[in-house]
Point group: C2
Chain length 434, copies 2
């Protein structure tokens, strides 16, 4: 089957991430699609000075986007330059040539997305925009397809990573807003002019586009009530805590009588909700469906590679359409030819472990067990014992450092035979990397 | 544009939920698709005694599934009977007639899904299975399309709602396993024979199918190491807490050297991870991607309506393929003709509010403020004050009961003019329904 050829216009953060994935993941992408994605051209004003990743093959380099959209060898154009002026020319130029377009441009798609899509329809082209909102969360695929059968009642989002980083730093350390903002700027998490992030404008653009997807309406970002987080301080977190809440900058779109309630503003949310667990520069979207009830989506909001994943996923979708003409050839398994799994023996997997025992207490128990563990080359991390009165049935726990499961199992076999055990040990891995 | 006509085979929980959504949501579905989904036939052995929801039009009722799959008026068949024998005949019968199939059948698709898909490909039909795993979470759409561009390193899942309910009850109340299981059985959350749920077999089937999607390999469920939760008790949660962890029944699939590590077993996870916030009969899937890093998906694992959403979403996807021949006509906005939003004034929205003041302390402040709130018909919920030494700049908070925002705003205008305020009040809604 022939390759599908891509032209990348824009080699900034997102363009760079996209190229890196295409270069490193070419074989896996081909396994999913059943054919290869090839980068035919890359375009940026400063293309001459860019270092491209290995593994891309011979992509043409050009500073002239027109030569990309007009190249008859290019099947799909990825518009990754951002802004609304040139980007629109690129997209409309590609569509005019009947090429499908993948874009990461939330401003343009919020402003003129429906118009652009109609132009694409008229030319038999696709327009795909997964990367435009919450780069790392596939929320477009979710709303457009995954839960298309539901009717969304409310959508809540933590849509700006910078604001969420600042708020959760205040929450964790009780530091004042200005101090945290300064740190964030020093670390590169916040821009020198932070207004777009901390005054809610970035979240507002995202909410406008998400509301389109959730409710099938176009929303002008300026019609959304928007407050930022400048006035939120440690004292607010302290009070919020008193009533079982924390504070997040929340974008909210809710179906009301005859329309939508829309807002971006700091809000108190219960500390027990999973949304309160969104800390640092992450984004999250909570959807309350009329039929499917609560669903929740979480991931990186930005970053070259997370956003690159969204671009590449869209490129794959569009490439399938080009290749197959229709969607029926898309495997429900996501891979064109699923193979048989090689299941690896868990014995090789290394984890810290939790080992819980119940014993008839007597002197020397710990020493005996520690001896067995040592012979199996297992390092003890901690011995835990809760206060307990019953010396005939005394629970206690040994946690051990990361060890191949084979060693843990053989030690357990030996430990299980100790005469002072009341029952067989309970053993669980500790999954720390979450 | 003509209707696309559906035959529903199986009217149990999932079939019932699917019909309810199709009946109630017909107009919204048509707005998304640009054409109508019509139920042409419903089939169940006991169809004569079933009450169908209003709004379905004149669907033919039959106890004979063959008459549905062979009906030339039916475009798509939804197989919702479960099991592997008759279900397979239904699916293969429909495919043999060139009809696309939507199924909720995790056992069958885990066992013979690739074979079934190849048969569908050969006949130019689609097979869609979003409802087969984690009904309420659109994890198939996510893995197949949304993050197709990533390369999954690890997938963790809380895949069995019953087990998670039991574990989180033990966690919350310190009750013994047997007692919680009994309660769960009494409440209908657990089956009279609970083994499939609590011994991990249900989670194992789901993990096998998810691993197929994430890694492009077929996995025999029996090749997955599986432990249940029977031995986990309050003492384990107490110890886990001592090391900052809690316990969940975790399905895990991880890329290793030359293959996959696969397991379903109780594991300790850090209490700070968002996965630890999954409580009750919910499911969740955590994906660690090589490029996109962490993403997390959460929702109902089962239930007629959440699973019905998955079935209806698949029906819509397949219907688009039938109608348009190719996928390019699918709106990136999810709706065929996005309209303009009616943005409602937030003033109409009712919420409890958090009002934070800084004042120069003197007697009578609370009385004066309470008087203003009362005149605006706002009920105070609580007055909160933290210990503070600075009487010239004393923060305190008033939370008020759910009130239309118009009243809150006009009260705030008046409150802002009080002479003893050090700065303008900080006001935030309290979003409790999360």
């Amino acid at each position: 089957m022939r390759d599908v050829t891509i032209g990348i216009v824009g080699l900034g953060n997102v363009g760079g991430g996209t190229l890196e994935i295409l270069a490193k993941s070419g074989d896996e992408i081909a396994r999913k699609l059943g054919f290869r994605l090839r980068v035919g051209a890359v375009c940026s004003r400063s293309v001459a000075s860019k270092t491209l990743p290995d593994g891309l093959g011979e992509a043409r380099r050009t500073p002239d986007w027109r030569s990309v959209v007009e190249d008859p060898g290019i099947d799909v154009v990825a518009e990754l330059i951002g802004g609304t002026a040139v980007a629109r020319e690129v997209i409309e130029g590609a569509i005019a040539k009947g090429k499908s377009v993948v874009t990461a441009n939330k401003e343009l798609m919020g402003l003129a997305g429906v118009e652009i899509w109609r132009a694409a329809q008229a030319r038999g082209a696709s327009i795909a925009m997964e990367a435009s909102v919450c780069g790392g969360i596939p929320i477009h695929a979710v709303l457009r397809e995954g839960i298309a059968g539901d009717s969304v009642d409310t959508l809540f989002g933590i849509l700006n990573g910078t604001s969420n980083y600042i708020l959760t730093e205040i929450e964790a350390h009780g530091t004042d807003f200005g101090v945290v903002l300064g740190e964030a700027q020093r670390l590169g998490y916040a821009e020198p002019d932070p207004s777009v992030d901390i005054d809610g404008y970035d979240a507002r653009s995202k909410l406008a586009l998400l509301a389109s997807l959730a409710f099938g309406v176009t929303v002008a970002p300026t019609s959304i009530h928007t407050d930022g987080i400048r006035r939120i301080g440690p004292v607010d977190f302290a009070y919020a805590r008193q009533i079982g809440c924390t504070i997040r900058l929340l974008g909210s779109a809710r179906r009301g009588e005859g329309g939508l309630f829309l807002s971006v503003r700091p809000a108190l949310i219960p500390s027990s909700t999973i949304l309160a667990g969104v800390r640092g520069a992450y984004n999250a979207v909570w959807v309350k469906g009329h039929f499917g009830q609560d669903t929740f989506y979480y991931g990186r909001g930005a970053g070259p590679l997370p956003t690159g994943v969204a671009v590449v996923s869209d490129l794959m979708r569009v490439a399938r359409e080009i290749q197959y003409g229709d969607a029926k050839r898309v495997s429900p398994f996501g891979y064109s030819e699923p193979g048989a799994a090689q299941v690896l023996p868990l014995e090789r997997q290394q984890r810290p472990w939790y080992l819980r025992f119940r014993v008839k207490d007597r002197p020397g128990i710990i020493a005996e067990m520690a001896g067995i563990l040592a012979r199996h080359k297992i390092s003890i991390d901690a011995v835990l014992q809760l206060p307990s009165g019953d010396k005939q049935n005394l629970p206690f726990v040994i946690t051990v450092e990361s060890t191949p499961e084979s060693q843990v199992r053989s030690a357990l076999t030996e430990l299980s035979e100790l005469p002072f055990l009341v029952e067989a040990p309970v053993a669980m891995p500790i999954e720390g990397g979450l």
